[in-house]
């Protein structure tokens, strides 16, 4: 066993900072997504052509899912959660391409995304309920729940991070093991399964982030 799934290959250094392959893949995904967004939103018209119809389908689909969960106007949350979902789908699927490594299969990217979710939960919570109202919501339904609520703030974000990391990483690791044991074409069904799991994990991450933010702004029960 030579390649540990916990360390990533360093491609080059910028000054003292090592730049690994997942980081370069992330830059590539950012470039592709930015360019694609710029291209499809360049000429928006009232009567949608084919390209714009697909775009509108994606955006309204994400918006409807968010609305189903928080039961409020999804527009303030749409930029964050939509970006999260589209980035996660692209990042989970990028492991299939040769020469790239899925950024979500290393602990750093899920940790950064979970940190973004953690901060935005409090941001949206304070914006919706006010600082005092939001702080008071931790002591509901009874004051004795306060320590439990505080602990669950940390643990649920931690499990969000470990879930994404563990699922994507274990899939890639399994493919590498089967490839080493069995040979060239045997891991293809596993890779097909991995594509499905990548999309499901992106969906779950986004839905859980939506549930957490929805709980903070007072739409749904605290998850």
């Amino acid at each position: 066993m030579d390649s540990s799934p916990l360390v990533s290959t360093v491609l080059f250094h910028i000054g003292p900072v090592p730049i690994t392959r997942p980081v370069v893949t992330t830059w590539g995904i950012m470039l592709v997504l930015t360019a694609a967004s710029w291209l499809v939103t360049r000429r928006l018209t009232l009567h949608a052509d084919r390209r714009q119809a697909v775009l509108e389908g994606v955006v309204t689909g994400i918006m409807r899912q968010i609305e189903d969960v928080i039961r409020k106007d999804p527009r303030p949350l749409l930029p964050l959660l939509g970006t999260l979902f589209i980035f996660l789908v692209t990042a989970n699927l990028s492991g299939v391409l040769p020469g790239t490594e899925a950024p979500t299969a290393k602990i750093e990217t899920p940790a950064a995304l979970a940190l973004i979710v953690f901060l935005s939960v409090h941001f949206f919570g304070i914006r919706a309920q006010g600082l005092l109202g939001y702080l008071a919501s931790f002591a509901k339904p009874k004051l004795i729940m306060l320590p439990l609520n505080l602990v669950s703030e940390i643990t649920r974000i931690f499990s969000l991070m470990v879930r994404l990391f563990g699922n994507v990483m274990s899939g890639e690791f399994m493919i590498a093991l089967v490839l080493a044991l069995a040979g060239l074409f045997v891991p293809i069904p596993l890779m097909a399964l991995e594509i499905l799991l990548g999309i499901v994990q992106a969906y779950i991450f986004t839905i859980l982030a939506t549930v957490f933010i929805g709980a903070a702004i007072g739409g749904v029960e605290r998850g």
Partner: protein, 80 residues
Amino acid sequence: MDPKIISIIGAAVAVSFGAIGPALGEGRAVAAAMDAIARQPEAVGAISRTLFVGLAMIETMAIYCLVIALLLLFANPYVG
């Protein structure tokens, strides 16, 4: 015994026994969701969304075991 051997055995035990509980739990959850969909086919959207989120929650336990096993195998602090 060599700490490496103990680590490998520990990793195998962690994954094998840690998979039992989530497997039983996921089986019960899916069976209950099937039952609910069979009774009320019009609620399939809400049921399957909740099912996915619940399955992810249950699955986290198995993933924790997997992470522990990988830490034992690849980043063991007790093996020099």
